[in-house]
């Protein structure tokens, strides 16, 4: 492998950030698919949103425009809201069912 390639790999650049964001996102997706505890699912969603956030930041650094950062701020707010509402619903469910296992929730199907 040519040294300059290794150089560019060692040199932390936008690509690394993008890959990081994508990885975070994918981790979130994977987590969502494999775990069954509602709280954990919510956290996975957080991961995904953050992955998206990182991508945003990277791009607006690259493009030198601020919209991305604004977007990220809003995204964080939105994520917070979603989690808040989500948790309240979780509480509701827990009160009625005293379980947090998403797989138990299959009354509605077919």
């Amino acid at each position: 492998m040519q040294p300059e390639v290794i150089q560019s790999l060692l040199q932390i650049g936008p690509t690394h950030y993008l890959v990081l964001g994508a990885t975070l996102f994918s981790l979130g997706v994977l987590g969502f698919l494999v775990r069954s505890n509602i709280i954990v699912l919510l956290m996975c969603i957080e991961l995904m949103i953050n992955g998206a956030g990182i991508t945003f930041i990277t791009f607006c650094r690259q493009l030198g425009s601020l919209e991305g950062q604004v977007f990220v701020l809003f995204a964080m707010v939105v994520a917070a809201v979603e989690i808040a509402v989500g948790l309240s619903i979780v509480v509701l469910v827990f009160r009625n069912r005293s379980t947090l296992d998403a797989d138990k929730m299959e009354v509605l199907k077919w």
Partner: protein, 680 residues
């Protein structure tokens, strides 16, 4: 009394009056009592008869050349160039027919009043009967094919209704259906014939079709048309192979058998062929077929009549056989003779049926002649009239049947050749035999019954007497020249069939029949025909020159008459020997043992019915069943259900993928996302 030509404008009334009678009896008959019903029923027919007699008188005043009156009632069907007005045609043929039909029906109506008095459905009976007369008169008066077809189907319907008149009898219902369907099968061909006529001529109007058919169609096409029409006639007139319905039709009340199945309807076929004769003349082949069919029918049904024991069935088979005679006459180019025989036979056979009706009535609906006997002294009037009828039927010289049958035999000999002549003469003797078999078994010998005799009332006797009169003297309308008579009938019918002499002597087509009968090759036939053409001209010329009376052909004609008379007598004698003389008594039984096979064939009427059932009815039912079960239900319906079912199945599968698990939903979403990303 209307006089002169304007009486012809009343022509439409002849069928109309019976129709009014029918309508009256249909609507009000149930409420009005038997008396009124019978007055209306007979009265309407009587009126029609009277009217047709007046018309006849006026008709005779006309010079022969313009004895052809057309009368259009109204435009019926008109679509494109297909025009079918209701128009009536009065010419010698139809004139003779309406007179006979209305007359005989009148007598039979009167007779029925006595015969049916006990029946609860009196009104219905007369409704049907009047309706029948209406259709029959329409048939014979028709001025174009479609009007004739109206009458044709109409009489079929009435016959159906009357055969199954006593609808609670299973046999009656069956017989009615059989009669309608079998004749309908003939009508199918007739209808095709009409269409073919229309397609060829562009019109179905008799006058314009028959004026000069040779201009429009060649002999081949003529053959097709002729055969189709003839098939219709075969159905209606119960000729082989469509004759099987007539014997069963004897389920009808006896007067009906007399009127419909002896005198009028069954002769419609003969009338039709006679009416369409110009087309038949164009194709020798068709005439051959007509003749041969007639001959076979005459012979076969006569043989069957020999062994039957049901009085009405014997008469039925004899009817078939006599109709066979008529077709033979048509086939050998003697249409006048055919019509002549039609008339005389109508009288005689109506008489016989009514007589048998009287017998049956007397013996409380006993029909088997083996359970009769010795009736002579109990119901003498019936006996004498019946005997006259029988004599006339079997062609004993001096009575009606003799002259007409002789005319046919003569024509057969001249144009049909020896073989056909021989066969028909044998048939003649059989006629004598079976007719008198009835008489000897029913009226002679010891009585084989013990019931209180019903004596026929005057109402029933008078028609018998009148008919006996007609049967006796009816023949004098056609005494041949050799006997010094003027052969009036054929002269009268000349406008329809041309000069009688021409037909009575050689005619190419009929020569052809002879040759066919002696089976020679068609080639010879044609040239023979060609030269006999010349012969024909010669003969006609000469006969015309010599004028009426003693032709050199005369002496052989006398000879023929003699032979036929002898044969008839021999038949009667044989019957006498078998059924009266003590030594002859056991011969029939002996014969039936000896020739068991033949006897079985005859008693089973040559197995026509059984074969038809096996071949046509059963296969048809099987096929229909198959189509229903296999095609309709199994294929088409299952295809439809299959589609529906697969949809429902798919639905259940797809919605069962709806597991209800959040993570599964997410998985599907991710998979979808991946697919889309790869796809885009």
């Amino acid at each position: 009394m209307v006089e002169g030509r304007q009486v012809f404008d009343l022509l439409w009334l002849v069928p109309a009056i019976p129709l009014f009678g029918a309508i009256f009896n249909c609507l009000l008959g149930a409420r009005a009592g038997n008396l009124i019903v019978s007055i209306v029923g007979c009265g309407s027919i009587g009126l029609a008869f009277a009217l047709s007699v007046c018309i006849f008188r006026a008709f005779l005043d006309l010079p022969p050349e313009d004895r052809m009156i057309e009368f259009c009632v109204f435009q019926w069907i008109a679509a494109g160039n297909f025009l079918a007005p209701i128009d009536l045609l009065l010419d010698p043929l139809s004139m003779a027919m309406i007179t006979m039909v209305s007359g005989v029906s009148f007598l039979i109506h009167v007779y029925s009043v006595g015969y049916m008095e006990k029946d609860k459905c009196f009104a219905r009976y007369f409704f049907y009967l009047n309706l029948f007369v209406f259709f029959m008169l329409t048939l014979v008066l028709a001025g174009n094919f479609l009007v004739l077809y109206i009458g044709w189907e109409g009489v079929g319907l009435c016959s159906y209704l009357l055969i199954s008149f006593w609808y609670e009898k299973r046999t009656a219902a069956a017989a009615g259906l059989k009669a309608f369907v079998v004749t309908r099968f003939g009508d199918f061909f007739f209808a095709l014939g009409i269409m073919l006529v229309f397609v060829q001529f562009g019109t179905i109007h008799f006058h314009s079709v028959f004026e000069d058919p040779a201009k429009v169609i060649d002999s081949r096409m003529a053959m097709w048309i002729a055969l189709l029409i003839f098939a219709g006639a075969v159905g209606k007139s119960a000729q082989i192979p469509l004759h099987t319905w007539l014997p069963d039709a004897m389920e009808a009340p006896t007067p009906v058998s007399a009127l419909i199945h002896a005198a009028t309807m069954v002769t419609a076929g003969v009338y039709l062929v006679a009416r369409c004769y110009p087309i038949f003349e164009l194709s020798p082949v068709s005439l051959q077929i007509v003749g041969i069919t007639g001959l076979l029918t005459a012979f076969i049904s006569a043989t069957v009549a020999l062994v039957h024991t049901d009085i009405k069935r014997i008469l039925a088979y004899s009817t078939v056989s006599q109709l066979g005679h008529m077709f033979l006459a048509l086939g050998v180019g003697a249409p006048a003779a055919a019509v002549f025989h039609l008339l005389t036979h109508a009288f005689a056979k109506a008489l016989l049926f009514l007589g048998s009706g009287a017998v049956i009535h007397a013996l409380h609906d006993e029909m088997d002649i083996r359970n009769m006997g010795g009736l002579r002294q109990y119901i003498p009037a019936t006996f004498y009239t019946f005997t006259i009828g029988a004599l006339a039927m079997s062609g004993i010289p001096g009575l009606a049947g003799f002259f007409s049958k002789d005319a046919i035999l003569h024509a057969t000999f001249v144009n049909g050749g020896f073989l056909m002549w021989a066969l028909i003469v044998i048939t003649a003797s059989m006629t004598g035999f079976y007719t008198f078999r009835i008489i000897f078994m029913a009226f002679f010998g010891e009585k084989r019954w013990d019931v209180h005799i019903h004596h026929p009332g005057t109402v029933m006797v008078i028609p018998l007497v009148l008919l006996a009169l007609l049967a006796a003297v009816g023949g004098y309308m056609g005494v041949p020249h050799v006997l010094g008579g003027g052969d009036r009938i054929s002269n009268f019918l000349a406008p329809n069939f041309g000069n009688p002499e021409v037909h009575a002597t050689a005619e190419p087509s009929n020569k052809g029949v002879a040759l066919a009968a002696e089976d020679e090759t068609a080639v010879v036939e044609s040239e023979e025909a060609a030269e006999s053409e010349k012969v024909l001209e010669g003969v006609t010329a000469e006969t015309l020159a010599e004028g009426e009376g003693h032709a050199p052909a005369g002496s052989p004609e006398m000879l023929l008459m003699l032979v036929s008379a002898v044969m008839a007598f021999s038949g009667v004698g044989l019957a006498y020997f078998f059924y009266v003389t003590p030594e002859g008594r056991e011969v029939p039984a002996m014969l039936s043992d000896k020739f068991g096979a033949v006897y079985n064939i005859l008693t089973n009427a040559w197995y026509f019915d059984k074969v038809y059932k096996a071949v046509f009815i059963d296969t048809y039912m099987l096929m229909s069943e198959f189509f229903w079960k296999a095609v309709d239900t199994a294929v088409i319906d299952h295809a439809v259900r299959g589609v529906a079912g697969s949809l429902l199945g798919g639905g259940s599968i797809i919605s069962s993928l709806q597991l209800g698990l959040v993570r599964w939903y997410a998985t599907v979403m991710v998979l979808g996302a991946i697919i889309i990303i790869l796809y885009i």
